[in-house]
Symmetry: C2
Subunit: 211 residues, 2 copies
Amino acid sequence: MTTIYYHPMSFPALAPIFGAEAMGIKYDKKVVDLMNGEQKSKDYLAINPYGKVPAMVDDEFNMSEGSAILRYLARRENSPLYAGDAKAQAKIDQWMDFIVQHIRVNVARVQFNRVLAPMVGRESDQSSVDLGLEFLAQNLPQVEAQLSETNFLCGDDMTLADIVLLASMEPSDMAGLDLSPYPTLQAWLTSIREEPFYTNVHSHFGAELGL
Amino acid sequence: MTTIYYHPMSFPALAPIFGAEAMGIKYDKKVVDLMNGEQKSKDYLAINPYGKVPAMVDDEFNMSEGSAILRYLARRENSPLYAGDAKAQAKIDQWMDFIVQHIRVNVARVQFNRVLAPMVGRESDQSSVDLGLEFLAQNLPQVEAQLSETNFLCGDDMTLADIVLLASMEPSDMAGLDLSPYPTLQAWLTSIREEPFYTNVHSHFGAELGL
């Protein structure tokens, strides 16, 4: 049995959920109550000693880190989402890392300070928001350019890189990100959010919490 | 011919260099003059349209992102640094991502503001230093605990995860990081820096610049 531990507000944790759905994997998903510190509970630390989501348990095998879980599941399932020769896999890896390091981390800066910090009573750091927006303005044009050339990040077919991009962009509305300079990305998001692997999870980011 | 583009002060870019050395690959390395904006030059953008280091050209094939380059080279060489069954590879992936996202990014916060910002005449951001140190204090104990259990991050043998950890810790002296709470990590760093794949590159971080 495969169980994925997540929280609906942790958008990095949505990547393995979307991935499992897209691969048609039978799995359980369990919410870890981050708001009440369940990620630091003894029971959860036995599952993931790093005290973070996502984590995955596959029978006796425990692991963490969203992109690593995606790669593991894709290898186990021999999924077309992470297939092809060494060069094709290299481009999937490249985009997965580009999205995590240059897009997701900056969406997180904006989302954390504009949305989560006020929710949990922490002070918002405007300089962190500004830095996130500055880096997004540098890096989102690369995504826009690629999606203007090919239907998905690595060509005509969806790969793990697209799953990571989708999860990374989940809070864009909630965080008030202006995506109007990126019409191809906007259209891509609208279209991919109509796919069953997305609608099986939720209608929109935060829906599970009534947001 | 394999060419890796880097800069000696970009410690993320050292990961594929160390990896190529450890795999015994014949390669060229070329410095991109980041201080004078060469990364945004027309010639370099033809190599890496994202204008960053590292990048790699393997005959006609161009790619970027250090961990992705490491995976590509290891697959091409069928290297034991990224081998084993799906679960063994999953643990290598997990540690590579953990190091990049929870260690390297925070070393970079400290290094940038304490060392690089003054060098390039930018203002240092103390709150970013503090945040980096706070996250390192949370996450380095995980690395210390793992290296206290096994010789390398994923067991008795070195893997790509160790290469990423080594590169990520390169600026620890220069950035004034206190590693005394992590004696196993310190001993591991001392030992791994005596390996030929390291000494072939430099005697210490910054040596190429006389630092």
